[in-house]
Amino acid sequence: MPDLLIELFSEEIPARMQAGARDALRERVTNGLVEAGLTYAAARAWSTPRRLTLAVEGLTARSPDLREERKGPRTDAPEQALEGFLRSTGLSREQLQARDDKKGQVWVAILEKPGRPAPEIVAEVLEATIRSFPWPKSMRWGTGSLRWVRPLQSILCILSDEAGAEIVPLEVDGIRAGDVTRGHRFMAPEPFRVTGIEDYQAKLKRGFVMLDQDERAAHIWHEATNAAFAQGLELVEDRGLLAEVAGLVEWPVVLMGAIREEFLSLPAEVLQTSMKEHQKFFSVRDPGTGRIVRFVTVANRETPDNGETILHGNGKVLAARLSDAAFFWGNDLAVARAGMEEWRAALGQVTFHNKLGSQADRIARIEALASEIEPLVGADPDLAAQAARVAKLDLASSMVYEFPELQGTMGRYYALEAGLGDAVANAARDHYSPLGPSDDVPTEPVSVAVALADKLDTLTGFWAIDEKPTGSKDPFALRRAALGVIRLVLGNGVRMSLSEMGLGHLMRSHVVRSGEGRNGDGYGFGGQTDFLIEFFVMLSGGGFGGGDYQKAEFWRAEATEKTSDLLAFFHDRLKVFLKDQGIRHDVIDACLSMPGNDDLTLLVRRAEALNAVLRTEDGENLVQGFRRANNILTQAEAKDGVEYSFGADPKFAEDPAETALFAALDAAEAAIGPAMGAEDFAAAMAAMASLRGPIDAFFEAVQINAENPILRRNRLNLLHRIRATCLSVADLTRIEGG
């Protein structure tokens, strides 16, 4: 069983593309080999900045011979049928055999497909893989038309076994496959021959190339943590950076350097971000003070001076970068101490969205909304308003201009510097959260109020101007904002009517207010924030003829429609979110049709209770009983053209099971009403589930469609009571399955 070794040697492959390229190379080549009839024992792919390598062990040397018999037309069939058969099999008449069949004598073609040698198959598969490789971005070079991520310089492709290595005959756009590769660009540039997978790995290591990206990453991590540890320091973990740096070097050499004294007072996040973004340095922290005091850079070579020149150069570049950062920090602190007014003014000139006004407009809206939300989350009203006013001011700071990812982080520093206290400062930092599904949800009331206000303003705003996400397009990250609202509300148990809050905000902030009269706008109405004006003017065909009252009604209707559309969007996101929590979508649907569905906390409590009860045997069977009752009743109502809702009378109960059901319904209804009133959904669900036994017994003992019409009517009315009682808890008609 030979081993296959492929190396695609190119100019430097971007680090971020290497992992995907390894997977693609392994999958495409092995799939191609298998489709062509070969099998293999194991396949592994590696990458360095200059090479993409695949090793396939235990490959079969040939694909198997295939023999297929294909039955054709009867021997007495018309000539055309036979000709068609010959064409489709590619045989001549002499090569066919006549055989007896149940229906008489038929022609049979014996198709033999001899197996093919592995090199032939490998050559085909590899060429196809190279020509259609899924690079995120690829290019041409020179006069060629081949596309690769960067110029492809050589191909190594050999099949090797105990007898030796064989070069796979392959040529792609003038690049002929061979058994030669090279080591490190500077440390071992001479080409060398390779005879197999192990030989390749060993020779590369001698040529200062650590082929395995995981080995490089582990090496870097190990060396860097050791270097830090030796000085009583700790390396700041950064897996993304580690993978990237491992993709930038073939022979990693870890070097640790000092950060100049004058920069040590910069916030840790600033040092870390600047070093990572610009220089791809790791940060080293003093565990005692929490400050970043050293950097780790990873060079791609050993040097006679043990990296001194390299470290000196890197330190110099870092100093230049940090001088910039220190300059920004100094400027920003001065503005912060003066109360940040300069930034407030600047944000008036910065467009948030051309239909949604400036950042200053946006901040004013968030402040208004935060004041509405603040009583619901128990935040201090003054602090919530203040936090909303300052939370985004850092967007105008030099530091955030330079490092946008530090928004919020800097806001907290600057708010503290302005003497605004922890609650406000933390809100500046935390109001962007939660960003991802695993990001922590803020819990401090002021932060929660501002975070909710920020996200709801964004959502209502973009809904107002009809910029909703479509398909995979969500340029304003509105899905994330909606999920953020959901997690903030649920995580903090916030009781809030999203519809009222959304509608109120739409009317107050995104729709012109009627009757205030704006001068010179030609419409005779106005308000401070009239982003929807064009939208509504367009909708109404260009102008309003009616009075203010009509205008107000028109806007209210529009805003109401948008609010309910936004609520549906929240419900969609909620379903996705709850599905991940193990709550079925039909369970959510069953709760969505209940009142108060715009109060997400209430909605989810109901769904959780229903989900729990459906997992019990009683709950599961109750749904069956409910469905049966509902079906019979619905059919009878359709057939009879009446609604059986007149109240069943226990005096017509004939069977003890029937009497028992009356009693059970009385008891359940008595329990459900107060439980629902107290929002004790678990108790209400339990009371509903307790009907399971009596309902089952009732169906067992009693025939609904009794011959006596009085009995029949009474039983149908009893079914109606079952339905009504269950539906008062949740819409069980939405529950799927049987």
Binding site: R140, G142, R150, I310, G313, N314, K316, V317
Partner: protein, 314 residues
């Protein structure tokens, strides 16, 4: 000129000139107009188009009005030099050729860490893009290395390889200088030794003041529009010149106007009178000019036009 480490800014430039001359490039002179980068030189922008082979290297003074710091910042300047190499088709050993140029200016690979770090290049104003790297020497970006894929909206066939060296930064690194104004311009032992600051500090001050506060924005806007109109007007002329009876497409005069428009835009930007939304619109207008020039260039001899039929549009 001696081996070993260069001693001045100009020695680095001269060594690059010698090196690329020895590698067969035509050593051109700077283009005589204000440009933002060496790429704007017609020897790059236009010559990257069409099928004719090309190899040129040159120094290009470049202006970025927004980067002016009154000569005080250690490495930011509103006027600086780029060294530019363009070879079409890109030779297979372009990386090695490039590394040879670093060796020529005294960078010893035994002691330094040279890296090719992904950096895709795009010029929205030129409608051009390419893939390549920024080249790092000990963590310092010393060059841009790009394989042009499109220029002026045209696919590049063959592909040109472009190298751009930020000369001041590279030289400061090689010479071990911390502030650009302290860098020896000529040989430090010359009878009249000059530092970079002796040559450029005053002009940095003057231009910074003019760029940021004094340039007349109404006039600049007018100049921008005039250049834009003139570019279009030139290209609107019929190909046949009635005076000489020859087919003369006036690409370069038109392209000069495109360069002017681009520079006026940069000046307006530095004056802070262009809002983010308008910015995109201005860039789009310059790109439209660049695109028209590119369209016209491929209809000329230098652009690969063969005379029988109009070159097929890409």
């Amino acid at each position: 000129m001696s081996d070993g480490k260069p001693r001045s800014f100009q020695e680095i430039i001269l060594r690059l000139q010698d090196y690329w001359a020895a590698k067969g490039c035509a050593i051109l002179q700077p283009y005589d107009m204000e440009v933002g980068a060496g790429t704007f030189h017609p020897a790059t922008t236009l010559r990257a188009l069409g099928s004719r082979p090309w190899a040129a290297a040159y120094v290009q003074p470049s202006r970025r009005p927004t980067d002016g710091r009154y000569g005080e910042n250690p490495n930011r300047l509103q006027h600086y030099y780029q060294y530019q190499v363009l070879i079409k088709p890109s030779p297979p050993d372009l990386q090695d050729l490039y590394l040879g140029s670093l060796a020529a200016i005294g960078i010893d690979f035994d002691y330094h860490d040279i890296r090719f770090v992904e950096d895709d290049w795009e010029s929205p104003t030129l409608g051009a893009w390419g893939l390549g790297w920024e080249v790092w020497c000990d963590g310092m970006e010393v060059s841009q290395f790009t394989y042009f894929q499109q220029v002026g909206g045209h696919d590049c066939r063959p592909v040109s390889g472009e190298l751009t060296y930020g000369l001041e930064r590279l030289a400061m690194y090689v010479l071990g200088i911390d502030h650009v104004m302290d860098m020896p311009f000529n040989d430090p032992d010359a009878p009249i030794p000059l530092k970079y600051g002796d040559v450029f500090r005053q002009t940095e001050e003057e231009y910074s003041r003019w760029n940021f506060d004094v340039a007349d924005t109404a006039k600049l806007l007018h100049f921008f529009e005039a250049a834009e109109a003139e570019c279009g007007r030139i290209l609107d002329h019929p190909q046949l010149d009635p005076r000489s009876g020859k087919r003369i497409i006036m690409v370069h005069p038109a392209y000069d106007q495109c360069i002017k428009a681009s520079h006026f835009f940069n000046l307006l930007d530095a004056r802070g009178v262009i809002s983010p939304t308008e910015r995109q619109a201005y860039i789009g207008r310059v790109r439209a000019l660049a695109k028209r020039c590119a369209d016209a260039f491929v209809e000329t001899n230098a652009g690969g036009w063969t005379g029988d039929a109009p070159a097929a549009a890409e």
